[in-house]
Amino acid sequence: MSAADEGITAEDLVREFRNGPRAVDGISLAVEPGEIYGFLGPNGAGKSTTVHILTTLLPPTSGKATVGGFDVVDQGPAVRGVIGAALQEAALDPHLTAREHMRLQTALQGLPHAERVSRGDELIERVGLEEAADRKVGGYSGGMKRRLDLALALVHWPRVLFLDEPTTGLDPQSRSALWEEVERLSGEEGVTVFLTTQYLEEADHLANRVGIIDAGRIVAEGTPAELKSEIGRPSVVVAPSDPGRLEDTAAVLERFGKSLPAEKGTVEVRLDRGVDELGAIVRELDAAGIGLASLVLNEPTLDDVFLAKTGHHLEGEALPGEDDSGDDE
């Protein structure tokens, strides 16, 4: 079994919006069956547009894609039969309860009558919504809505699952619960997962392979380890004990590597040669009479990969809880 029969393939996908940008600008990829593919990129990169094309919600302007062996343009109904999707904005009806959503979804997917209720209950239980199952969704928290949306996507035993920013705005507990469920689906049920995210940690933790997307193009692709080893070199972050000596600190450090955008009161450089230079750095700072508040060695992250490939950082890379910019609804 290959990406072409059971997984996802895309060749040179392009989507132009009439009054907008080329949201997707020549994307090619192949996701193997059972794989978790992480599509990592900042806001506006084209992640959702790609998901919409692959889930037959939006036809591509040009290019070709298959999902589960079916062409997304010519065989839309067959594609819809093998996929499940939880979109970025969970489309839920505030006037229906979770159980009523299940009733609708099992009917839309054409489950045999006898199985609808049991399948719905099973999935509601799996995502931990039994208690709230008979309450109207209008009163649910963001995390509960996401869980219900995921459960609804699974109703018809899809072989390929699309999750568009499934953990954006979730608290850390809900996030790890969702990660576990995605790992279980892929590991135990062999479901192919296409997951988009703005979070490095998420791609790093969950994805077997990551495609980094920026401005509608894939700028790097590989396993998280491969991508990081491409960058190869760690960076060092120094905070002088006397904030007034920041510039002197920078002058010393820049002898050892290229400086990176850093947090206030610190200097960061990507080391030209690697960890061996650490001793020399400490000696030279000491020689210059610069006291240290902290010195941290950072192994390369996917953000470094992103920075190296695009010249800018991922926005919104911090996980919710560590940063309150997450857009909880």
């Binding site: 919409h52 889930t55 037959t56 919600l57 939006l58 036809p59 109904p77 067959a78 819809r80 039969g81 999707a85 979109l87 904005e89 489309a91 839920l92 009806d93 006037h95 229906l96 009523e100 009733r103 609708l104 979804q105 099992t106 009917a107 839309l108 997917q109 054409g110 489950l111 045999p112 199985e115 049991s118 399948r119 609804l152 018809h156 035993w157």
Partner: protein, 263 residues
């Protein structure tokens, strides 16, 4: 458990019934959704049964019962508006994102239009019961037999289908509730450019030629003749309404294709 879904046609119908179920569920669990569609017909019925009934006493008005005469219009109006209101729901669903869920979960998407159609037609049971009940309470005399009555309700049902398809076509093109007036106004206008208050023979001025070509006139005349137990032009009326359904069906399916292109 057999991990499979039903085969094609069963699944198609199942999806349509799912859409219809949700439509009716939301309609009747929120009175603010279905009361407005009854206000107009009941208002007209009250007005006709009251002051306007003097029209029926005019010497040239030769229909046997003025309330029955108006009832035919009100039944068709109420059924047609029920179709338009279902169009509002389609637009609302696309505006709030439910449209995407439904588009993603159905294989053959024309089942979505069928589903709203089944929903819109089913709500007629309530509409008809209320409108008919009020008319009978207001003293309406029915001259025709059971078969004639079936003919009248048949025309009303098919008008509902045509109006639903018309509004679905608009809803699917605009996918926003702001398109509401575009669904409602044309239907209102065409309804009132028919011989509403008096038979067509009594119309004068510009409205007379307009009423002659208005398809609603044919439906109205046929319904009134059935009510009187003297059917005339019934076949024509059915041909007209089936023609409208074919036309509007095409319009709705083209709208669906546009919604698919827009994502």
């Amino acid at each position: 458990m057999i991990k499979t879904t039903e085969a094609g046609p069963t699944r198609y119908l199942s999806a349509a019934l799912g859409v219809a179920w949700r439509y009716l569920h939301n309609l009747y669990s929120r009175p603010s959704m279905f009361i407005p569609s009854l206000v107009f017909p009941l208002f007209f019925l009250a007005a006709f049964a009251g002051g306007l009934s003097v029209v029926g006493d005019a010497p040239s008005f030769d229909y046997y019962d003025f309330t029955a005469f108006q009832f035919c219009f009100i039944l068709i109006q109420a059924s047609t508006l029920a179709g338009v209101f279902a169009g509002f729901s389609i637009a609302g669903d696309f505006e709030m994102g439910m449209g995407r869920r439904i588009m993603l979960a159905t294989r053959r998407r024309s089942s979505i239009v069928l589903g709203y159609g089944i929903g819109a037609a089913s709500r007629l049971i309530v509409t008809w019961t209320i409108v008919t009940g009020v008319a009978l309470a207001g003293g309406m005399q029915i001259a025709g037999g059971g078969f004639d009555l079936a003919g009248i309700y048949g025309i009303a049902l098919l008008s509902n289908v045509a109006a639903l398809l018309f509004s679905a076509g608009i809803a699917l093109r605009f996918r926003s509730l702001s398109a509401g007036p575009l669904m409602q106004l044309p239907v209102f206008i065409i309804l009132f450019l028919a011989p509403v208050y008096v038979p067509k023979e009594l119309l004068t001025g510009w409205i007379e030629p307009v009423a002659t070509v208005n398809p609603i006139t044919a439906l109205l005349n046929a319904a009134r003749s059935l009510m009187a137990g003297e059917p005339t032009g019934v076949l024509t009326a059915y041909l007209v309404v089936f023609g409208l359904i074919a036309l509007m069906g095409f319009w709705a399916i083209r709208g669906l294709r546009q919604a698919e292109q827009a994502g």
